[in-house]
C-alpha cells in the first residue's frame, strides 16, 4: 500500500508524549504506537489496549500440564504394574507431586509461547520506525496514516515538543 506513510516522533518527556497521543487521536488518527524504555501505567491507560490474552495461554498450558501429569503417572504405572510396599499400583497421593510439577512446567512454557506470539517477538532486528534511544531514555509516538495526513501529524508532534521526527515510506 504505497499510499500509506509512517511518522515517528521522539520525545524526552512522558507527559508530552501522552499529550501528543491524545491530540493525535482527537485529530482522528488510528493505530498509534508508543515506545518507552520501561513499562509504564500512564501509557497503558492512554493507549487503552484490550486486556492481554496471554492469560489464556497460561491457563491452557497449566490444564494441559495437569492432564499430562495424571496421564503419565496413571498410565505408566498401570502399564508396568509393580507392587511396592503393599501400596496400590495407582495411588494418587504420591502422584500429586508429579501432577503439580507438570502443571507448573507446562503453564510456564505456554506463557512464554503466549508472550512471543502476542507481542510478535519473532524478528531478529527491529523493523523500521525504531530509534535506538527508545531502549535508553526517549519516548516515541508512531503514526501510520494516509500520505495526505502526514503534514497534520507532523504538526501535532512538533507542537507537543517532539525533538525529532522521522518519516518513512511504507
Amino acid at each position: 500500500m504505497s499510499d500509506k506513510q509512517g511518522v515517528l516522533g521522539v520525545f524526552t518527556y512522558l507527559d508530552e508524549t501522552l499529550n501528543a497521543v491524545k491530540k493525535l487521536r482527537d485529530a482522528g488518527f488510528k493505530n498509534l504506537r508508543v515506545f518507552s524504555p520501561f513499562p509504564n501505567h500512564e501509557i497503558e491507560e492512554v493507549m487503552d489496549e484490550p486486556e492481554s490474552i496471554v492469560r489464556f495461554f497460561t491457563l491452557g498450558g497449566a490444564m494441559l500440564g495437569a492432564a499430562c501429569g495424571v496421564g503419565f503417572t496413571v498410565l505408566m504405572s498401570s502399564d508396568w504394574p509393580i507392587s511396592v510396599s503393599a501400596k496400590p499400583i495407582v495411588s494418587l497421593p504420591p502422584f500429586m507431586v508429579i501432577i503439580f510439577e507438570l502443571t507448573i512446567l507446562m503453564g510456564a512454557l505456554a506463557t512464554l509461547l503466549g508472550l512471543l506470539i502476542n507481542s510478535r517477538l519473532r524478528r531478529n532486528v527491529p523493523t523500521t520506525m525504531y530509534d535506538t534511544r527508545f531502549s535508553e531514555d526517549k519516548f516515541g509516538v508512531m503514526i501510520t496514516c494516509e500520505k495526505e495526513n502526514v503534514k497534520d501529524a507532523e504538526e501535532i508532534l512538533t507542537s507537543q515538543g517532539a525533538e525529532d521526527i522521522k518519516f518513512d515510506g511504507v
Binding site: 508396568w80 507392587s83 511396592v84 510396599s85 503393599a86 501400596k87 496400590p88 495411588s91
Partner: protein, 978 residues
C-alpha cells in the same frame, strides 16, 4: 584331530572319577592321571547334564570330628559343601570351617606341582615321575647304608585305610608312623584310664541331659566334635513344652560356649578340680548322691565348700547352688577338657569331674564308653618330644610330614624348627606352603579331601568314606597313590603291596569292614550304599563302667604356672582357624569372631579394670611377655574375662601359608612354655603367667559391630523362664494401615529364628558367602564397614542378675523380606519390588545405585557394591552358577536363596504339586548346627515355620515400624537366679 582325541580322553577320565556314585564299573579303572581342564565341554559327557548339579557324599577333614558332608558339583566343579544328613555325627549340619573347605580346594596359594630343592638352592617345580624317583633314590640310598628306623612319617590322626597303608609302609621300611594332633586331649584319655580303667575318650549325650555343667569344655567351638555337640546342646537347651535345660559353664574367660550358658562361673585358672570336688562334696554332704559318694566320702570331705570357695574364687552360695541343681535336675552331666584350660593338673581335673558325675550318678547315663573317639589313638605329646630330640641328635634321616604344621603348632621352646634343620631329607605332602612345608626338601602336594579317595573313622561306630568330587585343580596327587607307586619302585618293597592305586587299597580294606557288617549283601552293593550314604555306620551297645577305687587315694592339686608376670595367659583354640589351619581361607578370616566381631587379625581380651590399670583402651596395643616370648597385639576390652587373666586366640600369626594368612596377627603358642600335664604327659596349654605393658601404638580395631548394648532398641529380646511357664500372648501387631494388607495365594516365604538355640557360631554366615557368591573384601574394606555379608550375627551384652552380671545375646540379622518393605517405594526405577510370594526382589540389572533403599532399610541389611570385587583364580571356580556375580554400583542383600526356592518350585511344577514343607532348605538353615533357623511357606498353616511364627516367644524386630517382616524371631529364655 589328535588334540580332539586327547580332549575326549580327558573328558572320559573325568567322567570316571566323578561318575563313581552311579556305579563301580567306571570306578574300577579310574587310575588315569588327574586332569586339570575340566570344563567347558564341547560335548557334555553322558551323566553330566549342564545346569543340573551332582551331589557326592564325602567326609570333612578340617578337624578330627569327621563330619559327613555332601558336596555339590556343577559342571565338574565343587561349588558348595553341606552337612550329610545320613552322618550320625553332624546329621546334616556343618560349621564355618567345613563350609570353607572349598577355599582350601581352590586356594590360589596351593602348591601347584611337586617341588624339590635336591639339586637347587630354592624349591623348583618338577614332574611327578622325577619327584617319586627322587624319593625312591633317597629311600634306597638310606637302606643301602644299612640304616633303618631312621624314617619317620609324621601325620595328623589318620585312621582308616591311609593310616593302615602308612603303618604298613613304615613297617616295611622299618620306619615309624607318629600321629600328631595339636589338640590330642590326652588328659581325657588318662583321666578315664584312672577313673574307669578305659584309656579312651567317650561320646557324650548332651541332648539327654537336663543340666549341663562344663568345666571349660568349649563344645560349641573346638571340643571333640563341635557340630554334633552344638546340635545336642540346642536340643537340650531349646524350649520343650515351656521348659528348658540349664547350662552352667566354668572357665576363667567367657568363651563363645560360655556366652551361651545360663551361668558363666569365672573360676581361678587351674582350680577346676578343686571346684568339681567341692561340688561333689556338697552333693554327698547334703545326701543327694544316689550312691552316697561310694568310697569317696573321705576324699571329698577334704574339700569343704568354704575352703574350695577361697581357692577357686567361686562364692560358696554358687557352689551349693550348682551342687543342688546338679544333683536334682536329672539327668545331669559334667564335662571338661577344653584345650584352653588344659593345665599341668588337667588329668586330675578330669578325674575330679568324673567323680562329680559318679556321685551324681551320671556314669553310663549320659557318658557312652561303648562308642569311643578315634582321636584316642593319636600319639602322645611324649612321642613328639622324643621325636624332636632324635631329630636334633641327627637320628632321623627322612621325615615325612603329612597334613600337620608342627613348626607353627608346637611351642617354640621345643625347637622343632631347628631340629627340622638337622634332618637331611624332609618330605612334605602338604598342599599348602605352610611354615613346615617351606622347610622341606621335597614337596609332594596331596589332593585335598574333595579331590581324593579315602576314608576316616572318627569313632568306632563310624567308617566314613571320602570320595573325589572333582578331578584335581592342580598337578597334585593323592598321598596314598604316591606311597604305592614309590613302594613299587623301591627294590625290597616290590610285591609288598598288591594294589597299584590307593583306590584299590581302599576297596580292599573296606572288604574287611564289609565282612564285619552283617547282612550287607554282596560287596558291590555294600560299597555303593556306603558311597551314597557317605560311609558305613553301625550302632554300638553302650558299655557300663564303674569308678575304680584307686581314685579315692588320688592327690588333687592346683595347676602350676611358670613365668613371673601377673596375668594368667590363656591361648584358646579358634572355631574359625582351629590350630591355624583355617587362617588361609578368606571366608574364615572375614567371618566376624562371635564375641568381639573382630576380623582378619588377632587381639588380646582384657578385663575393663585391668585395662584401666594398664592404661590401655579398646584398640591400643599391649606387649605381652612370657619367659618364652613376646607378642604385641591389640586390646579388646571384655567384661567376660577375669581381671587377672589375658587371652589370645590361636590360629593367626603365620609367617607363611599363603597371602591370606601370612603376617596377620600373632601366634600365642610362641608364648607357651614346654609344660605338660603331670599325669598324662599331654601338652599343658594353660601354664604360663605373662606380664603386660602398654606400647605406644593404637589403631582401629577392625570389627563388624561397634556397639555392645542395644541402646533400648529391643532388637534381641528375651523372656524370663517364669514368664514362659506362665505363658504370654504373642503380640500380633494390628496397627491401622493406610492401605489394605497384602494378599498372597500359594506361597509366602518366611523364616523363624530361635534365639534360644542360636549359639552365634557364624556357620550360617559362611554358608551364605558360599551359596550366594558374596565377595570377601579384606581388612581395609571391613575397617570401612564395607563387608558384604548378607547375614550378620548381632551380639549384645545385656545387663543380667546372673553371677557374671551380664548375658550375651546373639541375633542373626538378614533381610527381613518385609511385607511393607521401606526399601521398595523409594527406588525410582523399581529395582527392588515385592514379588507375589512375599520375597523382596532385588533386580541387579535395573539398579542405578541411588542407595535410597539402603538408607530407608529399617534393619540396614542391604549391602552396596562399592567396587567390582574379584576372586583370585581359582577361587572363582567355586562361584555358584545359579547366582549372579554382582558388579560395582548395585545394591545387594539376602534373597532367601531364591535360586533354591525356584529350583524346588520347578521340581514341584514338573510333578504337578505344591512345594511341600521342608522339601528344601536355604543355605543358612541348612548349615545351622543348632537348628535355630527354620524356613518355609507361611501360607501353609501346617508348616513348621508357620507354627513357630505363632509361638508365644515369637516377635518381629522393630515391629513398631510396621514393616511386616517375613522373619519371626523367637525370644531367648533367661533363667533368673533361683
Amino acid at each position: 584331530m589328535s588334540k580332539d582325541k586327547k580332549g575326549g580322553l580327558k573328558r572320559r577320565d573325568f567322567l570316571k572319577i566323578i561318575g563313581v556314585a552311579s556305579g563301580t564299573a567306571a570306578v574300577a579303572s579310574s587310575c588315569s592321571p588327574p586332569v586339570e581342564q575340566i570344563i567347558p565341554y564341547v560335548i557334555p559327557p553322558e551323566g553330566i547334564i549342564p545346569g543340573v548339579p551332582n551331589y557326592y557324599a564325602s567326609t570333612c577333614r578340617e578337624c578330627p570330628a569327621g563330619c559327613g558332608i555332601i558336596v555339590k558339583n556343577r559342571e565338574g566343579r565343587a561349588i558348595k559343601i553341606e552337612g550329610n544328613p545320613e552322618s550320625p555325627i553332624n546329621s546334616g549340619s556343618s560349621c564355618a570351617m567345613g563350609q570353607a573347605a572349598l577355599q582350601g580346594l581352590y586356594n590360589p596359594d596351593r602348591v601347584r606341582s611337586p617341588l624339590s630343592n635336591i639339586n637347587a638352592e630354592k624349591l623348583q617345580p618338577l614332574g611327578w615321575a622325577e619327584a617319586e624317583k627322587a624319593l625312591t633314590e633317597k629311600i634306597e640310598e638310606l637302606r643301602g647304608s644299612g640304616k633303618t628306623g631312621n624314617i619317620v612319617f609324621l601325620s595328623n590322626n589318620i585312621t582308616g585305610s591311609l593310616g593302615n597303608l602308612v603303618d604298613q609302609w613304615m613297617g616295611a621300611l622299618g620306619g615309624k608312623h607318629i600321629q600328631y594332633e595339636t589338640y590330642a586331649h590326652e588328659p581325657l584319655k588318662e583321666a578315664n584310664k584312672i577313673s574307669f580303667g578305659i584309656e579312651k575318650i567317650p561320646t557324650y549325650h548332651i541332648e539327654k541331659t537336663d543340666y549341663l555343667l562344663s568345666f571349660g569344655a568349649d563344645f560349641v567351638e573346638t571340643w571333640l566334635s563341635p557340630v554334633e555337640y552344638t546340635k545336642q546342646f540346642s536340643q537340650m537347651h531349646g524350649v520343650k513344652d515351656k521348659s528348658v535345660g540349664r547350662f552352667v559353664h566354668v572357665e576363667p574367660r567367657a568363651s563363645l560356649t560360655a556366652s551361651n550358658a545360663d551361668e558363666w562361673i569365672s573360676v581361678k585358672p587351674g582350680t577346676e578340680a578343686i571346684l568339681a570336688l567341692g561340688i561333689a562334696n556338697e552333693i554327698v554332704k547334703s545326701g543327694n548322691s544316689p550312691n552316697g559318694g561310694g568310697g569317696l566320702r573321705g576324699l571329698l570331705s577334704q574339700y569343704p565348700t568354704d575352703k574350695v570357695s577361697e581357692m577357686t574364687d567361686v562364692p560358696q552360695e554358687v557352689i551349693s547352688q550348682i551342687a543342688k541343681e546338679f544333683s536334682s535336675r536329672k539327668p545331669s552331666l559334667a564335662i571338661g577338657g577344653g584345650v584352653s584350660v588344659t593345665g599341668t593338673n588337667a588329668t586330675e581335673t578330669l578325674v575330679a569331674i568324673n567323680i562329680l558325675n559318679y556321685v551324681a550318678g551320671n556314669i553310663g547315663e549320659t557318658v557312652d564308653f561303648g562308642d569311643t573317639l578315634s582321636i584316642s589313638t593319636a600319639d602322645s605329646f611324649q612321642d613328639i618330644t622324643s621325636l624332636v630330640s632324635s631329630m636334633e641328635n641327627g637320628d632321623i634321616d627322612i621325615l615325612f610330614v603329612y597334613d600337620v604344621n608342627p613348626v607353627f603348632t608346637l611351642p617354640k621352646q621345643l625347637n622343632f624348627k631347628e631340629a627340622l634343620g638337622k634332618v637331611p631329607f624332609v618330605v612334605s605332602f602338604s598342599s599348602f606352603m605352610d611354615e613346615t612345608t617351606e622347610l622341606a626338601n621335597l614337596i609332594l602336594p596331596n589332593n585335598t579331601t574333595i579331590e581324593s579317595w579315602g576314608d576316616y573313622s572318627p569313632r568306632e561306630s563310624v567308617h566314613a568314606l571320602i570320595q573325589p568330587v572333582m578331578s584335581p585343580v592342580f598337578n597334585t596327587k593323592s598321598t596314598g597313590d604316591v606311597i604305592l607307586s614309590v613302594s613299587g619302585q623301591v627294590q625290597e618293597l616290590n610285591g609288598k603291596f598288591t594294589q597299584t592305586t590307593f583306590y584299590d587299597y581302599l576297596q580292599d580294606s573296606w572288604k574287611q569292614i564289609w565282612a564285619g557288617a552283617s547282612g550287607a549283601g554282596d560287596f558291590d552293593t555294600f560299597w555303593k550304599q556306603s558311597l551314597e550314604k557317605g560311609g558305613y555306620y553301625k550302632d554300638l551297645p553302650s558299655k557300663t563302667v564303674s569308678v575304680s577305687p584307686a581314685v579315692a587315694s588320688l592327690k588333687f592339686s592346683e595347676a602350676e604356672f611358670t613365668g613371673e608376670g601377673e596375668f594368667y595367659f590363656i591361648a584358646y583354640p579358634s572355631y574359625k582357624y582351629y590350630d591355624g589351619k583355617g587362617a588361609n581361607k578368606p571366608w574364615l578370616q572375614e567371618l566376624p569372631e562371635a564375641i568381639t566381631t573382630g576380623v582378619w587379625s588377632s587381639w588380646v581380651e582384657v578385663h575393663p579394670d585391668t585395662a584401666k590399670k594398664l592404661g590401655v583402651e579398646f584398640g591400643d596395643f599391649l606387649s605381652l611377655e612370657s619367659p618364652q616370648g613376646v607378642i604385641e597385639t591389640q586390646v579388646y576390652v571384655y567384661q567376660g574375662i577375669r581381671p587377672d587373666t589375658l587371652s589370645v586366640m590361636i590360629g593367626q600369626g603365620h609367617t607363611s601359608y599363603g597371602r591370606y594368612a601370612k603376617d596377620r596377627g600373632v601366634n600365642p603358642i610362641d608364648m607357651l612354655p614346654l609344660a605338660t600335664d603331670a599325669k598324662s604327659g599331654g601338652f599343658a596349654w594353660l601354664s604360663t603367667k605373662v606380664s603386660a605393658a602398654k606400647i605406644n601404638k593404637s589403631e582401629q580395631f577392625v570389627q563388624t559391630q561397634y556397639t555392645t548394648t542395644q541402646h533400648d532398641r529391643d532388637i534381641a529380646q528375651a523372656i524370663s523362664l517364669t514368664e514362659l511357664e506362665k505363658g504370654v500372648h504373642h503380640e500380633e501387631h494390628h496397627e491401622p494401615d493406610f492401605y489394605p494388607p497384602r494378599e498372597y495365594d500359594r506361597y509366602r516365604w518366611g523364616m523363624a529364628i530361635d534365639l534360644q538355640k542360636c549359639v552365634g557360631c557364624g556357620s550360617c554366615v559362611t554358608a551364605c558367602y558360599a551359596e550366594n557368591n558374596i565377595a570377601f573384601v579384606g581388612k581395609e574394606m571391613v575397617a570401612k564397614r564395607r563387608d558384604m555379608a548378607w547375614i550378620r550375627i548381632e551380639r549384645y551384652f545385656e545387663e543380667s542378675n546372673n553371677n557374671a552380671g551380664f548375658q550375651t545375646r546373639f541375633l542373626p540379622m538378614m533381610c527381613q523380606q518385609c511385607g511393607n518393605a521401606p526399601c521398595e517405594p523409594v527406588c525410582p526405577v523399581f529395582a527392588t519390588y515385592h514379588n507375589p510370594e512375599g520375597l523382596n526382589g532385588m533386580v541387579y540389572n535395573r539398579c542405578v545405585g541411588t542407595r535410597y533403599c539402603a538408607n530407608n532399610c529399617t534393619y540396614k541389611v542391604r549391602k552396596f557394591n562399592w567396587f567390582t570385587y574379584k576372586w583370585p583364580e581359582p577361587l572363582d571356580w567355586q562361584l555358584n552358577p545359579d547366582v549372579t556375580v554382582r558388579s560395582k554400583g548395585v545394591m545387594e542383600k539376602c534373597t532367601f536363596c531364591v535360586q533354591r526356592i525356584n529350583h524346588a518350585k520347578d521340581l514341584a511344577k514338573d510333578e504337578g504339586r505344591d512345594v511341600s514343607d521342608g522339601e528344601f532348605k536355604v543355605a543358612c538353615e541348612q548349615a545351622c548346627p543348632a537348628e535355630a533357623i527354620v524356613f518355609g511357606n507361611l501360607e501353609d498353616k501346617e508348616s513348621e515355620v508357620s507354627k513357630q511364627s505363632h509361638d508365644d516367644r515369637g516377635y518381629n524386630v522393630l515391629a513398631a515400624i510396621n514393616t511386616q517382616p517375613g522373619i519371626t524371631y523367637l525370644k531367648k529364655v533367661t533363667q533368673d537366679k533361683a
